[in-house]
Structure formats: structure tokens, C-alpha cells
């Protein structure tokens, strides 16, 4: 599978990819703690962006509540660890199952009753909001006061409990981003991937060509939810604290979807490129506004918004398609 994918990648892109990966693999040896922490965020957003892109970019289903699946993954794995002493690797399948089950409920409601487009997006927001309010009142997971993971259990780098230093999480996040990329690339070129594209382009025509639209859409939600929940598990054990008001917030959902939109919807490099642009941009703006003494709340957000407007205006289809043209990477050929 990977061999065929490699063969389908133009040589120029292959060289660029290999170079980038090498730089990222040795980066922790040279970069300081701060840069490493920013890169962890970049990888994380690339990962969850890839997960969201399966639904929106591939299958054309707008989810504005993806914080739900990420948050469920985070809460389920963290609660199992804190309350029952079940480690994250054992908790991972449970977390995935929980997200997939909720995803199935959202998908079934949406597709069974033909809730399409923006109305489907509203449905996803509604589910995320219900989760936020629900977890606010769920005492077992700490309610609104939050859920905290013990920062270190003595030994330090105990990887089986995901208790490690920044470099440990750096490689973990890098691995996640790479796995998601390869998985999505494989899916994109699979029969299921083509069916998703057909449904995205024209559900009626897809149906006439034998595509079971309900099943294809459902598969997109389930795959996306499962991937997102794994991102949530990472999030919980990296930050060690969870609050419903942040974890399930609409703002978090928006944050998740910006990278793939800016990078290029439906493309494989879009979420990665978007994350590499937006996360450092956010950090840079924090540093700049602090230096300039602009401490009024929201200053950073204003400049961030301005930058987004500029990027979207210059590359309306995303940065990756525009860059691809510039670099002379040819379209995929049949």
C-alpha cells in the first residue's frame, strides 16, 4: 500500500518530504524547549486537522463540533487513568469506542433524516454543546472544576503511562501526524475514498453509480471520530488537565478546522501545511504583541484574524494547492 502511494508521489515531492522528515527527526537535539513545545502543537493540529479533513475534505460533511470527539477521547482515557488506574494504552480503545459511538449517533440522526449542509453542521455543534454542559455536571470526571492527571508518577519517562518529558511527547506527536497522513493517503486512494469524493461532489449522481451514500457518509464520520479521539488521548496526557468549558468549546472546534482550511480542504498536505503556518503564527503574534506592550485582551486575536483574511484572500483554495502550482508538482495522473 505504502509502496504504491510512494510511486504515485512525484519525485520532487518525495525528496521534499524526506528532507522535512529528517529535519523534524533530529530537531529536538538542536531546538530549545520552547520550539519543541510549539512543534508538538503543530503536529497535534496537523493530526486532528487530518481527522476533520476526512469528513469535510473527503466526504463533504461540515463538522463544527469536532472538539466533541477529541474531548471524549481525552476525558474517557483520563478518567479511566485517574479514577480506575487504567493506563492510556488500555484506555485508548475505550476512548475510540466512545467517540465512534457518539459519532454513529450524530451520523445516524443526520443521514437518516437527511439533515444536510449547514443544518448538519448545527447538529454537530449541538452535540458538542450537550457534551460540554454534561461534563460540567458530571462529578465523576471532576465537573466544571476540571480533571487533573498526576504530573509524574516518580519514574519519569514511563512511556506505558504516557508520562514523559517534552521530547517524548514531541516524537509521539510526530508519529501521530505521520500515521494520520499515511492512513489518510491510503484511504483517499481506496474504494471508500473515491466513494467519499463522489458523495462530496454530487450525492445524487453518486447514488446512481451504485454508491450507498448513507454508508459512505457514516464511514467518514466514524473514521474521523476515531482519529480525533486518539488526538484527545494525547491531549489529555500532554496537558494533564481538562476543563469541559475549554475541551468541548466551539472555539476549540474552530481552532481544529482552521489548519486544513488554510492549508487546503481535501488535500493530504493541507492540514500539515496549515498547522505549520497557523501555530507558529499564533506564537509569533503573542510574542510581538507582548513586545509592543499591547496587552489589551483580544489584541492577538485581532491580528490573527487579519492574517487569516490575508492568507485566505491570497490562496482561496488553500495554501497547498497554490504552493503545489508554484513548485511545479504535477497533478496526479491516471
Amino acid at each position: 500500500m505504502i509502496a504504491t502511494l510512494l510511486k504515485a508521489t512525484p519525485p520532487r515531492a518525495r525528496v521534499l518530504l524526506a528532507l522535512l522528515l529528517c529535519v523534524l527527526l533530529v530537531a529536538p537535539a538542536f531546538a530549545d524547549r520552547y520550539v519543541v513545545s510549539v512543534l508538538v502543537l503543530v503536529f497535534w493540529f496537523a493530526y486532528v486537522g487530518q481527522a476533520w479533513n476526512v469528513m469535510m475534505g473527503f466526504a463533504g460533511l461540515l463538522s463544527l463540533g469536532h472538539a466533541l470527539y477529541v474531548g471524549l477521547g481525552a476525558y474517557v482515557s483520563a478518567a479511566l487513568f485517574v479514577r480506575l488506574g487504567i493506563g492510556p494504552w488500555a484506555g485508548l480503545p475505550v476512548a475510540i469506542l466512545a467517540s465512534v459511538a457518539v459519532g454513529a449517533a450524530v451520523g445516524w440522526l443526520g443521514f437518516r433524516f437527511r439533515i444536510e449542509g449547514v443544518y448538519f453542521a448545527l447538529l454537530t455543534i449541538a452535540f458538542a454543546e450537550v457534551a460540554r454542559i454534561g461534563f460540567d455536571h458530571l462529578a465523576w470526571t471532576g465537573g466544571a472544576a476540571g480533571l487533573f492527571l498526576p504530573v509524574s508518577t516518580g519514574g519519569g519517562g514511563a512511556w506505558w503511562n504516557l508520562r514523559g518529558g517534552p521530547v517524548f511527547f514531541y516524537y509521539l506527536a510526530l508519529a501521530l501526524a505521520c500515521i494520520a497522513f499515511v492512513l489518510c493517503a491510503a484511504l483517499r486512494h481506496s474504494p471508500l475514498g473515491y466513494r467519499w469524493l463522489a458523495v462530496r461532489e454530487d450525492p445524487e449522481a453518486a447514488r446512481a453509480l451504485g454508491v450507498n451514500v448513507f454508508r459512505a457518509r457514516m464511514a467518514a464520520v466514524l473514521v474521523s471520530a476515531a482519529l480525533a479521539s486518539v488526538g484527545g488521548v494525547f491531549y489529555a496526557f500532554y496537558y494533564n488537565n481538562l476543563f469541559p468549558s475549554q475541551t468541548f468549546d466551539v472555539a476549540r472546534s474552530i481552532e481544529i478546522i482552521l489548519a486544513p482550511i488554510v492549508g487546503g480542504l481535501g488535500t493530504l498536505f493541507g492540514p500539515i501545511l496549515g498547522a505549520f503556518i497557523l501555530t507558529p503564527l499564533g506564537e509569533l503574534l503573542i510574542a510581538l504583541t507582548e513586545k509592543a506592550g499591547l496587552n489589551a485582551p483580544g489584541t492577538k486575536a485581532v491580528f490573527y484574524g487579519l492574517c487569516l483574511i490575508v492568507i485566505i484572500t491570497l490562496a482561496p483554495n488553500g495554501v497547498w494547492p497554490a504552493l503545489k502550482k508554484r513548485l511545479g508538482i504535477p497533478q496526479e495522473e491516471a
Binding site: E201, A208, L209, E333, A334
Partner: protein
């Protein structure tokens, strides 16, 4: 020849309008069958009933001995019935090849098999040279051909063609007629076509079914139907008499 498609007493009502009124027809395996009639006669509605888009209010659709009445469009396609849309619906953001490939996947989903089916039908419809072009950038005649190629890639026994000649120039019509005849003769695909271009209908169809206001007014060979006074007054117009 055995019957491949049997439509028995099918009706469809939209609010007050009776779009298809108790229509029965039967198409033999290997036949080329045309459905003609003025605009609004219910031709496309009839296709949509056969293809599973609409569930008829009454009557049955039987394909190859299997009752397909009320099946979903994807299930009808899986049973071996492919259709094209009157207003072409290519997947605009995908390449011509990917468009055909998606049709090819209906065989059961193996990519290699789908690629083969896609390549085969694109060559047949003379779209192979444009395979890497985005479907949205094609000209109308090419889109019409893609519509046929894509439906054909599903490997149908019966192909429902909804006005594939409309908007084509006479030379292009002749090419399409040649391709369809080849499909029918060499590959044994049964064709049912809705068509206004009488030149194509006369060149292809073995039998013609005429609808008017949702009801059948005539059926028979091209020669018989074009001489039928009811058909002439409602559809062909008096000039056809000359």
C-alpha cells in the same frame, strides 16, 4: 428474446399532477427501446421510477426477473441498471478518469478492476486523452460522453439514457449513435433512451414508446409510430407528415 425490463401499470403523482399514469412497457434483452413524447410527458419521471429515485404510487418494475420496485438507486445500479442524467451531473472537482473509476467501483470495489473498467469505457467514448482533465472543465459534448462512460463503467445490462443527444451537433450525434449501436451489438447492453432528436431515435430504436401527459398513446416500430395520427398531432407535428 426474453424480457429484461418489465414496467407494469406504474403511476406517480406529484401533489395534484399525475406525472406518470398507468404506464406499462416491456423491453427485451438486447433491444434498443426509445421513449419519446413532448416536454412534460413524464419520460424522465418514468426513468426515475425505474432507477429507484422515486417510488411509484402504483405498479411494479421487474428487472431480469427481480422485483426492483422501490429499491434505492444504488441497489438498482447494483442489480445491473445504469442511468445518465438529462442535465449532466459530472463530479466537477474530480478528473475525468476518477469520474469513470467511481462507476467502475460498483462491481464490488476492487481498485484494479475499477481502473480497467474506467480505462475501457473512456477509450470507447473517446475521452481517454482527456482523462487527467477536471470534469468541470469539459465542453458539453464531452460531458455528455462522460455521463455515458461513467454509467457504462458500472457494467450494466440495461442502460437508461436520458437525452444524451440534446445539445450535440449533428456530427456529434452521429458519433454517439455509432457508439451506442456498437455497445448494443458487441457488448449486448440493452438500451432504453429518452430522446427528442428523432434522427437518432430513427437510427437506433427497434421499438418506440410514446408518452403524452403521463400516459401511453402509442407503441411500436419507428415506421408505425411515426405514422400514428395521435403521435403526429401531439408530438411530431403536422410537418412530419410531409
Amino acid at each position: 428474446m426474453s424480457t429484461l425490463l418489465a414496467v407494469a401499470g406504474v403511476s406517480k403523482r406529484f401533489r395534484g399532477l399525475l406525472a406518470v399514469d398507468d404506464v406499462s412497457l416491456s423491453v427485451a434483452d438486447g433491444e434498443i427501446f426509445a421513449v419519446i413524447g413532448p416536454n412534460g410527458a413524464g419520460k424522465t419521471t418514468l426513468f426515475n421510477i425505474i432507477a429507484g429515485v422515486y417510488r411509484p404510487d402504483g405498479g411494479r418494475v421487474v428487472f431480469a426477473g427481480q422485483d426492483i420496485t422501490g429499491l434505492s438507486p444504488d441497489a438498482v445500479c447494483a442489480a445491473g441498471v445504469a442511468r445518465t442524467f438529462q442535465i449532466v451531473r459530472p463530479f466537477p472537482g474530480l478528473s475525468v478518469f476518477e469520474n469513470a473509476l467511481i462507476g467502475g467501483l460498483s462491481h464490488g470495489g476492487a481498485i484494479a478492476q475499477a481502473r480497467e473498467a474506467a480505462g475501457d469505457t473512456l477509450r470507447l467514448l473517446e475521452l481517454w486523452d482527456r482523462r487527467n482533465q477536471k470534469a468541470g472543465s469539459l465542453t458539453l459534448p464531452d460531458r455528455k460522453r462522460l455521463e455515458v462512460a461513467r454509467a457504462l463503467a458500472t457494467g450494466p445490462r440495461l442502460l437508461l439514457l436520458d437525452e444524451v443527444m440534446a445539445g450535440l451537433r449533428p456530427t456529434e450525434t452521429d458519433r454517439m449513435v455509432a457508439v451506442l449501436r456498437m455497445l448494443n451489438r458487441e457488448r449486448g447492453v440493452t438500451l432504453v433512451l429518452i430522446e427528442h432528436v428523432m434522427r437518432a431515435v430513427m437510427a437506433l430504436a427497434g421499438r418506440i414508446h410514446v408518452l403524452h401527459h403521463g400516459a401511453t398513446i402509442a407503441e411500436g416500430t419507428p415506421e408505425a409510430v411515426t405514422r400514428d395520427p395521435a403521435v403526429i398531432s401531439s408530438y411530431l407535428g403536422t410537418e412530419a407528415l410531409g
